[in-house]
Subunit: 344 residues, 2 copies
C-alpha cells in the first residue's frame, strides 16, 4: 500500500486531482467590493428570492454549485461525492441544498475552515480513486449568521472594533481525476488550538494561533518555505488575526508578509465598507477561492498557492458557559503545474 | 490509478482497514438496558462530573476515546486523523473534546448518521494510505439534546408515541492499516431523501426512506443481497422506522427482517424503559457499534455485518419555518475475514 502522508499532519495527493470547475454567488455588499468582477452571481437584496435568510443561504449554494458545474461542463449526475457544510445550527443551509441534488453527501462542520476542509476531503476521495468527480463547497449569510450568533438584525447592535463582517457568499469547487488544473497536491490537516480568547467578537485573535501552527506544520512536514508559494492566503482572520500570524512568524525569524494575504481583507474595502476587521464566515474564503484565487491561478497570476481555511469552533452556548474559542486551520496546496508522479 | 468505487454510491476499500480498538461510554439509563454488559463506562448521574450537560458530553467523548485507544494499545500520539461530530449546535461536544487531543481533526455533521459517516471517511483515509491510524467517533447526550431540540427538561413536556429517546452515549472506533479485524470492506454513501415528514417527534418515519434507498443502492452497487449479511443494523430508526423499512422491502419482494435489527431497539428494553419508539441520537448507534456489535463480531456471532447510520438533517429553525425533515443513511460493511486482494 502506498503511503500518502508526510510528517505528522500532511496528506499527499500524488495523483494531483484537478480543479475542473468553480463557481460562486454573493450578496449585494460583497458585490460592491474590490472583487466584484470575480463573482458569478450578485444578488440584489440578499434574499435570493426566498422567504427566510436560511432559505436564501440554501438558494445561494444552489447558484454556486450550478455555476461550478457549468464551468466544469458536467451535470450533478456526474458527481460521485459532495462534501459541504455551513455555519447554521445543524448545517441546514447545506442539508436543504443537498436535498435538492441526487448525490452522495458527506456533511461537514468546520466553521469558517469548511472550504479548506471540504477541499482536502474531496481531494483525498479523488486522489484515492474513490470518486471521479467530487465537489467541495460551503456558504455563509450575514443575516442568518447575525441572528444565530449575535443579535437579531432589527436590534441594531453596535459592532466592536475587532469584529468581522460575516460574508453573504457561497463557493463551490469541482475536482476530477484529470483536467486543466490548478491541481491539489497536498493538505495539512489542523489540530485545534485554543489560547484562551473568550471574546466572540475577536475571532481573528482566536483563530490566528491555529493558522500559525498549521502553517508551521506544513513547512515542517513538506520541507517547503513561505517563498516556495507565490501566495499564501488565510481565510478568514481579518486585519487583527493576519497581523498576529505575521508577528508570530517574525518572532521565529520568518518573513511571511511578502506573499501573504487573508480572504477577509481581500473581500472588502475595509476603509469604505465599514466592516471593521474584514470579512469572515465560511462563504468568505469559499467565494474568494472559487473566483478570485482560482481564476487568478488560471490566468497565471500565481503558480503555487497555499489556501489556509481557518475556523472558530465555538457556539453561543459554549461562550455563555464561559468557554474560550477553539480555532482550527487546514492548509491546502494548489499548483498550476501537475507534479510529476514518483515511481510507485 | 486504481478505481475504488462501484455503482453510483459505493466506495471500495481493497486494503480493508482493520478495527484495532473500540470503546464507549454511556449514561445511567443506558447502563440499565439490555446491553449493559457491553459498555466500558456507565456514569452514575449523566453529569460525568461536569457542570453542564454540554461539558458532560465532551467528557463522555474523552472516556470513549480513551477506552478505544487502550483497546488498540496505542496513544493519541499514534493517531493521524480524527473524524468526529455530534448533534449540538456547532458540534461543541466534539470541538471541545478534540481541543484536548493533539490530533489532526475533521469535523463532521451528519446528525445520527455520524458514526457511519465518520467510519466511512476514516476507512477511506486508512485504505488510501493517508492515515495509518484514524479514529471515527461521535456522541449524544439526552439532556443537552432535549433542551436544544425540544424543551428544557424542567418543563416536563409529554412525549408523543412516535418519539425516540436520545441516548446519552459515545462510541469510538480506531482503524489501522493492519490488525485483527473486523475489517471495513466498503461503504455506500447516502443521498438525502425527504418524503415530506414535518413532525420532529417522528424521526423514524423521516429517516426510513433514506435507509431503504441506501440499502437498495448498496445491494445494487455490490451485487449482494440481504442474506449475504449475518446482520444488517440501522441506527437509529426505532420501532416505527424499522417497520417502515421492512415494509418497503416487502413491497419489492425482499425479506429483510430475518437478519435485520436497529440500534434504537437494541439499546433499550422498549417495554420496561419507557422510551416509546426506542433510542436515537448519534451516541446510540455509536455506543452499540463500539461495544455490542464489534465485540460480537470478534466473538464470532456475526461474520458479515452491514452498519447503516441514519440521520435527520433538520433543525428547530427549519421546522419552525415549515420545512420537512431531510434524512440520510450511510452503510458501512464489516467482515471478520480480510478479503483477498485482487491483482492491482
Amino acid at each position: 500500500m502506498t503511503v500518502k502522508r508526510t510528517g505528522k499532519q500532511t496528506l499527499l495527493f500524488p495523483n494531483a486531482p484537478s480543479v475542473i470547475g468553480f463557481g460562486n454567488a454573493v450578496g449585494k455588499k460583497e458585490g460592491e467590493g474590490p472583487l466584484k468582477a470575480t463573482f458569478d452571481y450578485i444578488d440584489k437584496d440578499d434574499t435570493f428570492g426566498q422567504s427566510s435568510w436560511e432559505k436564501a443561504e440554501t438558494q445561494m449554494q444552489k447558484q454556486a454549485l450550478e455555476s461550478a458545474l457549468s464551468g466544469a461542463n458536467i451535470t450533478v449526475n456526474d458527481l460521485d461525492l459532495l462534501f459541504a457544510g455551513d455555519l447554521l445550527n445543524q448545517c441546514i443551509g447545506t442539508a436543504y441544498h443537498a436535498r435538492s441534488q441526487a448525490v452522495s453527501f458527506f456533511g461537514l462542520y468546520g466553521a469558517c475552515s469548511t472550504m479548506a476542509e471540504s477541499l482536502a476531503l474531496a481531494a483525498m476521495s479523488v486522489d484515492g480513486g474513490y470518486a471521479k468527480h467530487a465537489v467541495a463547497m460551503t456558504s455563509s449569510h450575514f443575516c442568518s449568521a447575525e441572528r444565530q450568533y449575535r443579535t437579531p438584525l432589527e436590534y441594531g447592535g453596535q459592532r466592536t472594533p475587532t469584529a468581522q463582517w460575516t460574508v453573504t457568499g457561497s463557493g463551490a469547487v469541482v475536482l476530477a481525476d484529470s483536467g486543466p488544473g490548478p491541481y491539489v497536491t497536498c493538505a495539512t490537516i489542523g489540530q485545534i488550538q485554543d489560547k484562551g480568547i473568550k471574546d466572540a467578537n475577536n475571532m481573528g485573535a482566536a483563530m490566528a494561533p491555529a493558522a500559525y501552527e498549521t502553517l508551521k506544520a506544513h513547512f515542517s512536514d513538506t520541507g517547503k518555505k513561505p517563498s516556495d508559494y507565490d501566495l499564501i492566503v488565510t481565510g478568514d482572520l481579518g486585519q487583527l488575526g493576519r497581523d498576529i500570524v505575521v508577528d508570530f512568524f517574525r518572532k521565529d525569524g520568518v518573513v511571511l508578509e511578502d506573499n501573504y494575504n487573508d480572504c477577509g481583507l481581500l473581500m472588502f474595502d475595509l476603509k469604505k465598507q465599514d466592516v471593521h476587521c474584514g470579512g469572515s464566515g465560511c462563504g468568505c474564503s469559499a467565494a474568494v477561492l472559487a473566483g478570485h484565487l482560482l481564476s487568478g491561478m488560471r490566468k497565471g497570476l500565481w503558480k503555487n498557492l497555499l489556501f489556509c481555511g481557518t475556523g472558530a469552533l465555538h457556539s453561543p452556548t459554549a461562550i455563555q458557559q464561559g468557554e474560550s474559542i477553539p480555532g482550527i486551520c487546514h492548509a491546502v496546496a494548489l499548483s498550476t503545474q501537475k507534479p510529476q508522479k514518483s515511481q510507485e
